[in-house]
Amino acid sequence: MDFNITDDRRMLSESLRRYLSDQYNAETRNSVAYVAPYHSPKHWQEMAELGVLSALVKEEDGGFGGTGFDINVVFEELGRALCPEPFLGSLLALQLLASFNTSKDANKEIAAIVSGEQLAAVAIYEPHAPDSLSDIATQATQAGEQWTLTGEKTAVYGGPSATLILVVAQTADGLGLFIAEPSAQVAKANIDGGGTSSMSFNNTAATCIATSAQAEIEKALDTGRLALCAEAVGTADVLLEMTIEYLKQRQQFGVVIASFQALQHRLVDMAAEVVQARSITVLAAAKLDEEDASRHVALAKNLIGRMATLVAEESTQLHGGIGMTWEYSGSHYSKRLIMLDHQLGDRFNQVNRLLKMAS
């Protein structure tokens, strides 16, 4: 049993933290996070060179990381800095490509993503299938050698800046995986910082990666959920720290408000949940390549959803008005924590998944 991270990961974590704090401060963040394509190519390239993307890929697939712990280290730092760059979409794409890494193409594509040359995203969810694979309506049709796709996709994380778009669509064999350019795209920052697309496919020509990819898609989603958990832990940790600092300096009634016991006890309850969130995320990371990964990821994302809501709402309340202003960076941390629960299945979606797994 060893809860220390390896030297390699510590170095990555430290260099990423230093990079983000030097090069991606709150001002830069806000200027990137809310303006399409919600992505800074310069910073992206620099982080690729730092090895951030290859840390998300296993050695056998051409990276130098790819385990749950690697994902944790990277996303916790991204969360700490509230970094809006499209790492989530890239992670999902890298996972899926690695799952089908028998072809040279996939290998080449992984290398291109890791180097920062290509930017990838995965189109999974749809207007009427916002958090489940069971109702995907986008259809893949084969005519001779040529596949075409027709359907609507939403919640494509990293879509606005992606140069390579993987698409999940129905085939005769189940859910397949394709590469295609959308016929129309709307780019937004609806998860609060970081780009999301909705996309249309209308008899769009597509390259088929696999006609039956359900298990691999589920696996990629679990990996993405773990990444969101780690991101939330980083974000909550910083927000908690900011809240503590604020309570220690803010004076009312002639004393610092940190001296009010009712606020102290609420602060402690927040802190305890952040500790718990970190623990369950570590567990989910450790289990990521095991058979019961999905269960542990669902437990983690559920607890994270509850923690994120508690920490965000309590932090806002304990700050008072200042915690609601755009100018105070803590408000963006709480906003991000709230929106994060909406991604890849919220707290209740995880419960439903767990109940399905148990039955």
Binding site: D131, N190, Q252, A262, Q317, M324, T325
Partner: protein, 393 residues
């Protein structure tokens, strides 16, 4: 015990409904339904419609041009307006300054200012909070120094809601530096056109501009703009806080929002079924409905005490806490229902087939309404007030 309204009250409700049916423009109602930001013109238009009907000053006695309504009538009016998606009455002139002038103002002030509020000649805003004086309002530092026939004001106010539309501001200012901090506060009226005033917007986390900072540098105000006596400001502020907080529970808003939430669950699909069939989600909804139904009665019980002449006590604080928490929970569930299609800021919503128009504002409304438990005396301050009352004696 009888929970139904009297025949007169029911007739009044019908009258309100029929007024709203005929007078509330579809444009205003649509904006309200979608929780869209109202323009200054929208609000002025609504005030004018109400004023024409004589229903604008719901907290004023008849002799000053108000409705003279009972607490129950006010409740009915506010509930019907909320359900009809009517704009809120902007409270600063009508529900805050007006009652203060009627209670503490000189005859001259009443005669000059009250009609201008009714007619919409002046838009008032509030200068209470300061960067260092939020929950602890008595620690405010903005100074007003008497200089001949004038006060010279220096300092800074903040959280001034809709100040960007305002012509005038009523302020709490420090007129005495010594003694208990509550003692040296005065209530002063200031024309925002006076030299030395600067109003700066505060952008909120959901991107909206609703509140402002106001800076005062050597602002000279006629001494006649003082309301009541010098150093009587704390009494006036307390009067406002405990006697004129109409609609503190916001039952009407909560009812409207609950209706929208339930509507939404019939429009959103998850796992191949409508959210209205999702046990876990709907369990949250029905428990919240129980809370809301209880609060509706709690509110009526306290209205009855008010009608019966009981002094408003800690009950108002309890209503403030429950009312704000219930509204915030409804907002949270509405946001949560949208799953990945919720957008933190309206401009980032992605419209698609099956999403109602107001979904665009779901998360922004949630974020904006975090204020409900912070302003008007934070819920922590309310808990202190109630605890004091419970534990006294």
């Amino acid at each position: 015990m009888d929970l139904s309204f009297t025949t007169e009250e029911q007739a009044f409700r019908d009258e309100v409904r029929s007024f709203l049916d005929t007078s509330l423009t579809p444009e205003l109602a649509a904006k309200g339904a979608a929780n869209l930001e109202l323009t200054k013109t929208d609000m002025e238009q609504w005030h004018a419609l109400l004023n024409a009907k004589g229903w604008l000053a719901v907290t004023w006695p008849v002799e000053h041009g108000g409705t003279g309504w009972t607490a129950v009538q006010r409740h009915i009016f506010e509930e019907e307006c909320a359900i009809a998606n009517a704009p809120r009455i902007v409270p600063f002139g009508l529900n805050m300054l007006g009652p203060v002038l009627i209670k503490f103002g000189s005859e001259a002030q009443q005669a000059e200012i009250l009609p201008r509020i009714l007619n919409g000649d002046d838009w008032w805003c509030q200068g209470y909070s300061e960067p260092g004086a939020g929950s602890d309002l008595a620690s405010l530092k903005t100074r007003a120094v008497r200089d001949g026939d004038e006060y010279v004001i220096n300092g800074q106010k903040t959280w001034t809601t809709l100040g960007q539309h305002a012509d005038k501001i009523f302020c709490l200012v420090r007129t005495l530096a010594e003694g208990k901090p509550q003692r040296g506060i005065s209530f002063v009226l200031v024309d925002l056109a006076t030299p030395g005033i600067e109003m700066r917007p505060i952008k909120l986390l959901e991107g909206g501009h609703e509140v402002n900072e106001v800076f005062f540098t050597d602002v000279r105000v006629p001494a006649g703009n003082l309301v009541g006596e010098e150093n009587q400001g704390w009494t006036i502020a307390k009067y406002l806080l405990t006697h004129e907080r109409t609609n503190i529970a916001g039952v009407g808003f909560a009812t409207r929002d609950m209706g929208k939430l339930k509507e939404l669950t019939k429009q959103i699909k998850r796992n191949g079924q409508y959210l209205s069939e999702d046990t876990l989600f709907m369990a949250q909804v029905v428990e919240l409905e129980a809370d809301l139904e209880a609060m509706r009665i709690t509110n009526l019980r306290m209205l009855q005490s008010a009608n019966d002449g009981a002094a408003p006590g800690p009950e108002a604080s309890m209503l403030k806490i429950k009312g704000t928490v219930i509204r915030q929970k409804i907002n949270a569930l509405y946001r949560s229902a949208l799953g990945p299609h919720a957008a933190a800021m309206p401009q980032d919503a992605i419209a698609h087939d099956g999403l109602p128009a107001e979904a665009i504002n779901a998360a922004a409304t949630y974020f904006n309404n975090r204020k409900l438990s912070i302003f008007g005396g934070s819920n922590e301050i309310q808990r202190n007030i109630i605890a004091n009352d419970i534990l006294k004696g």
